[in-house]
């Protein structure tokens, strides 16, 4: 390739670099991102709307055929993972990196390697400054002492004085930007395999369930819900035991709202629950005399096939945990949850022919046939909870936390620490002092005046600050 072929390419690269190195561009990108974030809050997002319809059907129905299709096509229905949103984020990240690289070395020189002897005219022209008579052979002595008392770092060199404090404040924006990058990296990491996992498990009281994406099991020792006196829920919690792959119990812990369980980088969060009927205590009663023959315990979650009760043999013919009637008028179960259990039992008395009967443990009075010699009476029904646990693994999380910490340090350093510096030189028996700060000019002006007043009370009176209004 000849030189002419290479040059425009390099130009493009240069121009791209310059583009991203511009704070003007970064500002525009920030506003664009702010505006781009609005749409997703006004349009219901995929996976968040309350409907079982797939997006292709939901949106045209909800927003009309034309607008709905438009939303789907532009990715507005998943705004925060759409190509345009990610592009903007990516451009901001690029801008952050390039801006910081561009400015790092100049800032290092300016802040960490200050020039104690700049051009005299530069010092004289600084916005803050004063002069005082130079006395003796150590003209800066008193000034240096005053500055040191104010925690300035003072350098005397080549007959000049330089002092500054709050250098960290100048690095604040860079620290902020690094923190921000870390947050973006931490969030982006979930795109890598094995970094991110999101699952949901249901664990019934007493049940042991393998935690997906991990090598351990969790056993529920019981779900519990507490209430305030008003009846409002106060807390939800699942008492659990962690069991490792070899079947050894590792630890016992309670998972509650805001208190997840963490084990091997996998976290379990209390997320929801439901209650089922568990065990029913049933009495077998002689219909005629009303006398109780015997009792037995019926497990409503997993009933046995056969029960032997006081000489009677009860065989389970069918079981409907959530009894209802289907479209054909046939008995059916509406769900696998124990909401309204119904049983068909074949009862063989000790000395008579077997017969078949229905029994509804929650409604023992409901009978299809009231001529049978015996009937069932429910004495007690227990409740069994099933706890819904969110299973999360996110290896990007530590990066995000560090990023947030760094960013916080950065913004506080930026705005709560001002870099203040003074230069001084001697000329014609006078010490000329010039001061500069990057923020809070007013309070620096006050400090400068206080130092000036200290060194030359006659010339510098402690006047009132800048007046905001005319007198």
């Amino acid at each position: 390739m000849d030189e002419q072929g290479v040059k425009p390419q390099k130009d493009l690269l240069d121009r791209t670099w310059d583009f991203f190195a511009s704070v003007r561009v970064a500002t525009v990108l920030l506003f664009l991102l702010a505006v781009a974030s609005i749409g997703g809050t006004l349009i219901e997002q995929e996976g968040m709307y309350a409907s079982s319809l797939p997006p292709e059907e939901f949106y045209p129905q909800r927003y009309g055929p034309v607008f709905g299709m438009l939303l789907l096509r532009t990715g507005m229905t998943h705004a925060y993972s759409s190509w345009w949103y990610l592009t903007l984020l990516f451009m901001i990240a690029a801008s952050l990196v390039i801006c910081s690289i561009e400015r790092f070395v100049p800032l290092w020189r300016a802040v960490q390697r200050p020039n104690p002897a700049p051009d005299k005219e530069f010092v004289r022209r600084l916005r803050h400054g004063f002069t005082f008579p130079a006395t003796g052979d150590a003209p800066y002595g008193e000034l240096a002492a005053a500055l040191k008392a104010r925690r300035y770092l003072v350098i005397e060199q080549e007959g000049r004085l330089y002092a500054d404090k709050g250098r960290l404040g100048r690095w604040g924006p860079y620290i902020t930007h690094i923190g921000l990058l870390l947050v973006l990296i931490g969030a982006g990491m979930r795109a890598l395999p094995g970094v991110y996992l999101e699952q949901f498990i249901w664990v019934r009281d007493g049940e042991i369930v393998k935690v997906p994406g991990s090598d351990f099991y969790v056993e529920s020792l019981g779900f519990e819900v507490e209430y305030y006196e008003t009846g409002q829920p106060k807390s939800y919690m699942t008492h659990t035991r962690v069991i490792d792959a070899n079947g050894n119990a590792v630890k016992t812990e309670t998972i509650a709202m805001n208190e997840p369980l963490a084990h091997n980088r996998v976290e379990l969060y209390q997320s929801s629950y439901y209650a089922d009927y568990g065990q029913a205590e049933i009495a077998l009663v002689d219909r005629q005399s009303g006398a109780e023959i015997d009792r037995f315990t019926l497990d409503l979650i997993q009933p046995d096939r056969v029960y032997a009760v006081g000489g009677y043999r009860l065989e389970l013919v069918s079981y409907f945990p959530d009894f209802g009637i289907d479209e054909d008028g046939q008995p059916a179960t509406r769900s696998s949850r124990v909401h309204n259990p119904g049983l068909v039992l074949q009862v063989t008395p000790p000395d008579a022919d077997p017969f078949t009967t229905w029994f509804f443990p929650l409604y023992p009075g409901v009978e299809f046939d009231d001529t049978t010699p015996v009937r069932f009476v429910t004495q007690d029904v227990t409740t069994v909870y099933t706890s819904g646990l969110q299973v999360k693994k996110d290896l990007g999380l530590p990066v995000i936390y560090i990023g947030l910490l760094v960013m916080t340090v950065g913004v506080f350093a930026t705005f709560y620490i001002a870099h203040r510096r003074y230069w001084a030189f001697t000329e014609d028996g006078q010490v000329v002092v010039g001061g500069w700060t990057n923020r809070n000019q007013g309070s620096f002006e006050r400090e400068t005046l206080q130092i000036a007043h200290h060194l030359d009370p006659e010339r510098y009176a402690l006047a009132d600050e800048m007046e905001g209004e005319e007198r």
């Binding site: 003007r24 500002t27 008003t230 106060k234 939800y236 809070n440 800048m466 905001g468 209004e469």
Partner: protein, 399 residues
């Protein structure tokens, strides 16, 4: 203790109101005649004292409520908004100590009063915390966010003053319209608060049938001129009028959409009347009134105060609205970020103020354009607190 707290709160409100009135009177007197300067300035220093007293009283009110209820009083809309009002006044008091700019009080103290009054529109009783709210991250998240927003409010006041001050230097039709619109929006917000508080004190309530969003009966605290889908005329009355007059359009399916539309309509009507009254009495546009009030205050100082508000508020807001919010969301739901509308609006606010901070270091954008952004930033804050609740709902529906 809760009762004590509400008396203290009332006392603080009266103090803020007095402060606002004193500051406004001060400016009015000053503009009338230089002879009144001394009297005016005495009023101004009383205004400052009233603001300080209000901040102390409200601080005690918050402490009393905390002790009385045994939980940090930052868990519902009343507690949040009143805390924000407190932080506005707190930063006003602090910034006034830093800068000699008593004129600021005439613009910021009324904002504080409006926010506190808005807080009082919400139910004030203490409710026990639902499980998700029982976390130290809740008070941290909420208090830092509100502190940041309080500083942004002061910045808003100063930015508005700056824009009014430099208005004449270079007239631009759009800016003129936008300034006037800002006052108009303020009037609507005030109208809303007057209506909501008036009807709350009057004890008005109406129940109408609702067929949208799974809520069957909608309780209105303002007269339901616009009823929900499914409501029938005559279900409610107000001054002998048979209400509701009309339905909300059928595409508004949110459970509370009709109620919010009704509130918006009534507030706009009340706000327009209020705006019209001031406009007719003053016989000049409100922006002109504002410009006269600002007089020839030092624009550089106004600009600096506006910047300083954001410089102080930005780190607090970052910590509260993003950092603590993310940690809490992670602890509670296992996801630090869920793109919930309110959460996203906090991000929008934050990006917007980041944009402002960068504008300040771009030559040519640091003056008026930046001041507009500073003013608009607080409008976004208020939208997040008021508008997002009205328009969309999400995880934050309990506040």
């Amino acid at each position: 203790m809760i009762q004590v707290s509400s008396y203290l709160f009332l006392g603080a409100f009266v103090a803020y109101l007095a402060s606002a009135v004193l500051y406004v009177t001060r400016l009015t007197l000053r503009r009338r005649d230089p002879r009144y300067f001394d009297l005016a300035d005495r009023l101004g220093s009383h205004g400052y004292k009233a603001a300080v007293a209000g901040v102390i009283l409200q601080g005690l009110a918050i402490a009393a409520r905390w002790i009385g209820s045994g939980q940090v009083p930052l868990a519902n809309m009343f507690e949040y908004m009143s805390f924000m009002g407190w932080s506005i006044m707190l930063f006003f008091v602090i910034l006034s100590a830093w800068y000699k700019l008593p004129g600021l009080g005439a613009f910021v103290a009324p904002v504080g009063v409006v926010v506190i009054a808005y807080a009082s529109v919400f139910p004030t009783e203490v409710r026990p915390l639902v499980p998700v709210l029982q976390s130290v991250w809740l008070p941290l998240h909420v208090s830092f966010a509100a502190l940041g927003e309080g500083a942004f409010a002061v910045s808003f006041g100063a930015a508005l003053m700056y824009l009014l001050r430099v208005r004449k230097e270079q007239t631009n039709q759009w800016e003129e319209a936008a300034l006037e619109f800002t006052f108009f929006c303020g009037a609507i917000l005030t109208g809303f608060i007057v209506l909501a508080l008036g009807f709350k004190i009057g004890g008005y309530s109406a129940e109408v049938t609702n067929l949208a969003g799974g809520v069957t009966v909608l309780e209105y605290t303002l007269p339901p001129f616009i009823g929900p889908v499914g409501s029938v005329r005559g279900e409610a009355t107000f001054l002998g009028l048979q209400l509701p007059l009309v339905h909300a359009p059928t595409w508004m399916r949110g459970a509370y959409a009709a109620k919010n539309l009704n509130t918006l309509l009534l507030s706009t009507v009340a706000g327009t009347i209020l705006y019209g009254l001031i406009r007719l009495t003053a016989r000049v546009p409100l922006r002109e009134l504002g410009t006269r009030a600002v007089g020839n205050m030092n624009p550089k100082l106004l600009d600096e105060v506006s910047y300083r508000g954001i410089a102080v508020g930005f780190p607090l807001f970052t910590l509260g609205a993003l950092v603590f919010a993310m940690i809490w969301a992670q602890k509670a739901w296992g996801r630090y970020w869920a793109w919930d509308p309110k959460e996203t609006w906090a991000l929008i606010t934050w990006l917007f103020y980041s944009g402002y901070l960068h504008m300040r270091i771009v030559r040519g954008w640091e003056g008026r354009p930046a001041a507009w952004v500073a003013a608009l930033g607080f409008v976004i804050v208020m939208f997040t607190l008021v508008g997002v609740n009205l328009l969309v709902s999400g995880m934050h529906s309990y506040v």
